[in-house]
């Protein structure tokens, strides 16, 4: 299955990747090859098969809802590229 350049650009937008034109070209070719290989799955009859999300989990594992100490703000912010007080700072969102 071929992935067109237009589709590559659409997926890149969804994935928040600012690809270069060369990358778009290369990914179109490479992803098409991978998608060709995975079409093999279409030949299997899976009509009455349940999907597996986790192989060894049989039940949802719940724990008590207990409050515990979490990271203090200064530790959480230690790696922030930009901060303002006890918050992460980002470029202005609303003009």
């Amino acid at each position: 299955m071929a992935l067109t350049l237009e589709q590559v650009r659409h997926v890149a937008t969804l994935a928040r990747l600012a690809l270069t034109p060369e990358e778009e070209q290369r990914l179109s070719t490479q992803l098409s090859a991978v998608l060709d290989a995975v079409t093999q799955l279409q030949s299997l009859d899976v009509e009455n098969v349940e999907p597996t999300s986790h192989a060894t989990l049989t039940a949802s594992l719940l724990r008590e809802d207990v409050t515990r100490p979490s990271l203090p703000p200064e530790k959480s912010l230690a790696n922030a590229p930009a901060k303002s007080g006890t918050s992460f700072a980002v470029p202005k969102i609303i003009e």
Binding site: L3, Q7, V8, V11, A12, L14, A15, R16, L17, A18, L19, T20, E23, R26, L27, Q30, L31, A33, V34, L35, A37, V38, Q40, L41, Q42, L44, V46, V49, E50, P51, T52, S53, H54, A55, T56, L57, L61, R63, L71, K75, S76, A78, N79, A80, P81, A82, F88, V90, P91, K92, I93
Partner: protein, 486 residues
């Protein structure tokens, strides 16, 4: 014999007897790293001060007669996917360059509590996505058995460091073979535990339903001892199994007499290198000689594992890697105009080609109109793959098979052909999809001196039996005593 040639348990014995100190062992590793790592490049960062401080504390405990564990004082290394408080952790990616975690992964905490000095962080394919270590954003690691070849991936740095005797053992992670394949490529032992056996808390996520940390060592007995420390239920990981931890060393020496070992015919397909197949077949005969019964079995959906994996893993990765957006940590494109551009420019600059490829593939497989055809279908085929294993494990105690269809290949050989690189994982992927434990144990060398590994697969939470089966082989062959020619 040098100090660094000892196995973990041999060193532990000498530490217990007071014949050697942890500081001496740690210094021996640091000297070895200085001498051989320029050729191997297994380490992204060495934590000399941290390791020596931990070693001194260990020696004090040994002297006081209060060792924290059997392996107290035995220095090890960590794949750079495990968060280490106060020590840079990059996942082999530019997007996390300079990131200093505010916390330890649970398994890192367990190692510290058990008294093992941590020598530093080991190279890997970026975000553990790769089979050769070449997708690391920093540099490729070289195979100690032939430095022109790959040590495998993604835990290639861990495997190479163990094989080159820079560390006594290491932690890796295995999403589609990333512990077992590098172990096979470097004459070391690698164990991927059952999904949920070892905590993933603080392990940088690639594909959350498949990722599993595990030990990488020179011997099977060392792997058992290291797993003993790692296998603990962790309330911080909701997928961590609330099961008790058996004594993994108790049955190690019991041999394979009377066991039924399945030989899955799909794992001996065309395209396997002759010498690799010959080594694996010889190992099977050895098991027969020791009294095991070999049973020809079929896992009919094996041929679909590659396609299933390369839909599910990228889909989960595209979601997991959404967090690298330049806001809270790591790289930020400071010249971006507006928030959207901040995200997309940061990600464009921070991720390498393999990571972008998988994010794109996963995003596509999850996108509107394609979800049912790709992701959901892959999850259903995953059920069929899992049922294959459930069925054969009613008939046999474990499976024995090759790890990789090929011996370690040349660096650069497959780097421009992603699909042929993905094919390297064809015998290791089904284990992760089924969630069962898998192990790689050295089973020989090619004429050119390249290592070959044997894979042992078992029922969920049957790690003790896998270790026992691997140990039965290891006992008759001391491949692990061989020194890599560096």
């Amino acid at each position: 014999m040098q100090l660094t040639d000892l196995t973990m348990l041999e060193l532990a014995e000498k530490l217990a007897a007071g014949q050697v100190s942890s500081v001496e062992a740690t210094r021996a590793c640091l000297e070895r790293i200085q001498r051989v790592d320029p050729k191997i490049r297994a380490f992204l960062r060495v934590d000399e001060a941290g390791a020596l401080a931990a070693a001194e504390a260990s020696d004090a405990r040994r002297k006081a007669g209060t060792p924290a564990s059997r392996l107290d004082g035995v220095p090890v290394g960590l794949k750079d996917l495990f968060l280490t408080e106060g020590l840079e952790t990059t996942a082999g990616s530019r997007v996390l360059e300079g990131f200093v975690p505010p916390l330890d992964a649970t398994v890192v905490r367990l190692l510290r509590e058990a008294g093992l000095p941590l020598l530093g962080k080991l190279n890997l394919d970026e975000f553990a996505m790769g089979s050769s270590n070449e997708s690391s954003a920093y540099f490729p690691t070289h195979n100690p058995w032939d430095v022109t070849r790959t040590p495998g991936g993604s835990s290639g740095g861990s495997a190479a460091a163990v094989a080159a005797r820079e560390v006594f053992g290491a932690l890796g992670t295995d999403t589609g073979g990333s512990i077992r394949q590098p172990a096979a490529f470097t004459n070391t032992v690698g164990l991927k535990p059952t999904y949920g056996r070892v905590s993933r808390y603080g392990v940088i996520a690639y594909a959350s339903s498949l990722d599993q940390p595990g030990p990488m060592t020179r011997t099977v007995s060392d792997a058992a001892a290291l797993l003993q420390i790692l296998a603990q239920h962790d309330p911080r990981d909701s997928t961590s199994a609330p099961v008790t931890t058996p004594d993994y060393s108790a049955e190690l020496e019991q041999g394979v007499r009377g066991l039924k070992l399945g030989v899955p015919r799909e794992y001996f397909a065309q395209g396997m290198e002759e010498e690799v197949e010959a080594s694996v077949r010889a190992a099977l005969r050895e098991y027969e000689r020791q009294g095991a019964t070999l049973v020809d079995v079929s896992l009919p959906h094996t041929q679909y594992a590659l396609a299933t994996y390369y839909l599910i893993a990228p889909a989960e990765a595209s979601s997991n890697l959404a967090r690298y957006d330049g806001v809270r940590y790591g790289l930020r494109a400071k010249d971006a105009r507006g928030l959207k551009e901040l995200y997309s420019l940061t990600r464009e600059r921070g991720f390498g080609p393999e990571v972008k490829r998988r994010i794109m593939l996963g995003t596509y497989a999850l996108s509107a109109g394609y979800y049912d055809a790709y992701y959901l279908r892959a999850q259903k085929v995953r059920t069929l793959i899992r049922e294959d294993f459930t069925r054969v494990f009613k008939e046999v105690d474990a499976l024995v098979a090759p790890i990789s269809p090929v011996a370690p290949f040349k660096l650069g050989e497959k780097v421009d052909d992603p699909l042929s690189m993905y094919l390297m994982d064809v015998y290791t992927l089904p284990c992760n999809l089924a969630g069962v434990p898998g192990l790689s144990v050295p089973c020989g060398f090619t004429k050119a001196g390249l290592p070959v590994g044997l894979q042992v697969l078992g029922r969920p939470f049957d790690e003790a039996l896998l270790l026992r089966i691997a140990r039965a082989f290891e006992r008759e062959h001391d491949f692990f005593r061989r020194l890599a020619p560096i």
